[in-house]
Subunit: 194 residues, 4 copies
């Protein structure tokens, strides 16, 4: 079975998630500069989530670039990932409207953790389907980022109750880790061509 | 006529339905853990509908994978299916906000029933267009799941007034039936290749 | 320039319009059967608009199926059509919430009229770009439906103030005219193949 | 890496932005003609933003038509552009609901400026990736529109506080500049073919 429709459907869902999230910022009450002030924490949460959803799209793009065909299991593992991504706007809104409150910050971390686990399941489902010596398996290699990220989210959840600032710092740190370009798949593809 | 645009349009509509549904969960009033409590029944309804829309997308994907070309009749049968799917968020919201109330539970079953009938019409329109001995016809075979599901929805509608729990149990049961991987089309495709 | 991205973008916009429209039905206040009553006129407006947007998608699909390449002028004529289609949810909501009120019914007719004119401009822009003896020009032929529809919308606008029922009857009539399968383009395509 | 998925994802995001914006017009309170009056300034803001997002989609289409492959840097430069475009509905709503108020008009100009800068960064990232003598570089040429537009947005921001009318006039002027068909890329493509 081809992968085109799975990619197109995922692109559609991720495009909606990333756009709706930013649309949810409420219009300020009033037309002066000060009316923007309550929007600032909401804006910062949206910025963080935009970057996270962007990272997921980017990685999804690379992962399926290295995949060839999809099975029923891959379809469902992909829907499972989309389910957790679809909870980003909910978690973002709750955290943004209660800036630096412990429970919403922990809930945001839980959604990040579940999405990371779903991504890991999807990746493994594809590798199992394509074989251990497949392009994707060799491109991913030891996958230290994919292993470190859920560990940091897991640590951030209880730390939210100590200080939401620490948890938010960890969320930003993981996002920055992924923003640093990851040339693994591009490099392996280039090698195979030679 | 090619099937690409029909697939792309359906993917777009289904992607919007599945995403908006989850976005409609309202932000809890308050930042403590207890504020999440009223969200739980809404969340469960959304989870059920997410799985159902996921099943429809999955089956739609398989069905058109086995189809070759589309006619005007297929375009309209597909729009008819999308219409009933587009009522999922409405029915989900009504059921989620009035947890275990008989009428909304019955209305949810009605939407499930109409979508199942629309799917069956679409399937038959494609088979009629492609011939009884087509790939799709042989892949679907006796189609017991496609026949059992509407019967169970039909039963659930009056049972909602006896006990919404029974109706909801039937909805979960049918979803589980479809989640068990259905390898019919994949198997037939593999056979034809040999 | 290829037509794929124009088709994909239009599919995206039309998919959002058709889905959001149905999503806008408000959840009934209460869980009894009677609570659905105020939703009925809104539901009927949505059903009519769903059929109209479906017709536009269908015709758009056929029209670009017969087109080969796109120019800058075609891109803008297409965006112009999408602009008027994007006003459908607004006009539908206003008409649905004020059932059988003259002004909203006339406004709905105006949006239908402008969309029909935009479609006609788009069609002519494509034909001018491809030549009078192109596939599209011969497929469309005398285009009596495309000429009758805007005339009926134009008549319906003042008739709304006499009786909204007449105007709504005309809207349903035009929709039915288009629902009757139009095999022109399919026939011409089949002829050319022979 | 192919450019198809980047185009499809961008199309999805831009389609949602352009559609949601128009959907946000609130239903008039009442069914008479006069009830439409408060919608007029909001409608005009939406019309301006629809044209701007249409121009961005059009230019994005042309730019990637002249591009061949994408790198990780191009993916992120594209997401950066989509981020600023996603703020259009927010800025449009704020300006529309406070017609001719200085701060919202300046904020709208700021979002236009940031989107123009993001577009410029994306264009340069593609040119750097493809070489100075690439199709895109020669098609763009001296790019006076791409240089004049941000200068005019930059001027409009302080001018909003002098008179919002002047700022809005500049926004309309820049939109008109881009609406005049820009045949550079089409011409260069035609030249290369010969």
């Amino acid at each position: 079975m081809g992968k085109n429709r799975l990619e197109a459907f995922s692109d559609g869902v991720i495009a909606i998630i990333i756009t709706i999230m930013v649309l949810e910022m409420k219009t300020p009450n009033g037309s002066e500069f000060g009316a923007l002030q309550p929007v600032v924490p909401v804006f910062l949460s949206y910025l963080l989530s935009f970057v996270y959803v962007g990272i997921y799209w980017n990685n999804h793009h690379h992962m399926f670039h290295a995949a060839r065909r999809v099975s029923g299991g891959i379809l469902w593992a992909n829907l499972h990932l989309l389910f957790w991504l679809s909870l980003f706007p909910f978690a973002t809104r709750w955290m943004g409207e209660n800036h630096q409150a412990p429970t919403p910050t922990a809930a945001y971390g839980l959604v990040l953790l579940m999405a990371a686990i779903a991504y890991w399941i999807l990746q493994n489902t594809i590798i199992r389907h394509q074989g251990r010596d497949s392009l994707l398996a060799s491109a991913i290699g030891r996958d230290w980022k994919g292993k470190l990220s859920p560990a940091l989210y897991f640590a951030a959840i209880p730390l939210s109750f100590l200080s939401p600032w620490i948890a938010n710092g960890l969320y930003v740190l993981v996002a920055l880790l992924w923003l640093i370009p990851d040339r693994r798949i591009e490099r392996v593809l280039a090698n195979r061509r030679e």
